[in-house]
Symmetry: C2
């Protein structure tokens, strides 16, 4: 019997699903999981997801780079925020990073608490590598959208839909959220950036006049050929 | 400034939204809100949503018809279940009904607890009447999908998308769930029954070999020209 694939639109809905024994893919397209993919491509050692900025800063004395974002902005006094462009800086190669973000790190911790077998990091940047990995792990899969403060968001759902679509020949699904995410992706894929620019998250960027083009960057496909995963407390590759 | 329209995919996500002062439309297409629309068309007096079958049965002695559904099935010993065909029976005209269902009555109670200004009952059957009403009430709107045991479901989302689409000239939205529901509806509307028959809820019906064609019935549009609403504890028209 084929393994099952499910989509969960926000961490608040994860407790309604059986998580134990499954592989959970954490998705925070704008921008935590995109940035983590870039960080490993740049050559960081390991990434430690932490709950709060205060906890994050503790790791300064252990020679970690400290990265903190809240409400889309880098917090004062931290080395890094949450833009993928920051994680392209060659100076971070070989360093370890402690990371806290509004939604992404919370989703990772929740999947861990609910005893997922594997926790993988997904983004459009590593879509193919992720799908290859999911097709070789013989487990059912939950695609967990980080959302925005426990609310549904468009960009994470579109990515979940892309994965469901890519793996439709291999996995079964009895999950309406997977069916809807796939159809949404299929109906928007020819103009993905247009749609994501209409999302609430992209509008938050506009309001803050963020300079870098994080939206376009995070919608690139298959620029990163690795799949970060949680091992103990750390994300590694 | 235009009023806002939001979509909430399951009652579990309602606490993330400001509900006070807004009109909430409760949506449980398969089948509670469809059946309630039919009941009023048939001429029932009032409908009392209650939490449990035990509480429901109490109203027997006050000459209510007692209706209870759990996991798609009518419970033993009750007068009615949750199929809209049962509510077409002319014998229920003039009677009052106490009703408890797996998802719909829970959603109604939650909207009440969070102090919605108005709570309306929506289904494809009364789509036009509902949209007319929403466009005359000068309030922001939350379309609350009852879902299935706090999980996302397809048919409630499609209906929410139909309402967002219908009202797009009148209401603003900054809600990704509204944007996604509308696009999902637009991409599925030409073949709505085909899609809903793929939903997890329709599959539950198949498994139980339910005789009546509740899915096709509940996807009919504008067969009911009234909008049931909560007044105190009762749903009335």
């Amino acid at each position: 019997m084929a393994n099952n694939i499910e989509v969960v639109y926000t961490p608040a809905l994860l407790p309604m699903h059986e998580v134990k024994g499954k592989t959970v893919v954490v998705i925070d397209i704008l921008r935590a999981t995109s940035s983590v993919c870039v960080a490993f491509q740049t050559g960081v050692g390991k990434v430690l997801p932490v709950a709060t900025p205060e906890e994050c800063m503790v790791f300064k004395e252990f020679d970690f780079l400290c990265a903190a974002e809240r409400n889309t902005l880098k917090l004062d006094g931290f080395d890094l925020g949450n833009s993928p462009f920051e994680y392209q800086n060659p100076l971070i190669a070989g360093r370890n990073i402690a990371l806290t973000t509004t939604n992404g790190t919370k989703a990772i911790k929740m999947a861990k608490e609910l005893h997922a077998s594997n926790i993988l990091i997904g983004s459009f940047l590593n879509l193919s590598a992720l799908c290859d990995k999911l097709s070789t792990i013989n487990q059912s899969v939950i695609l967990l959208c980080a959302g925005w403060k426990d609310r549904f968001n468009l960009e994470d759902t579109l990515f979940a839909g892309a994965v469901v679509n890519e793996l439709s020949a291999i996995f079964e699904t009895d999950c309406d959220a997977a069916l809807a995410a796939r159809q949404l992706f299929l109906s928007m894929q020819d103009n993905l950036e247009h749609w994501v620019r209409q999302s609430s998250h992209a509008k938050r960027f506009q309001l803050l006049h963020l300079q870098t083009d994080d939206v376009a960057f995070c919608l690139q496909r298959n620029t990163v050929n690795l799949v970060p995963m949680l091992h103990g407390e750390y994300i590694i590759v």
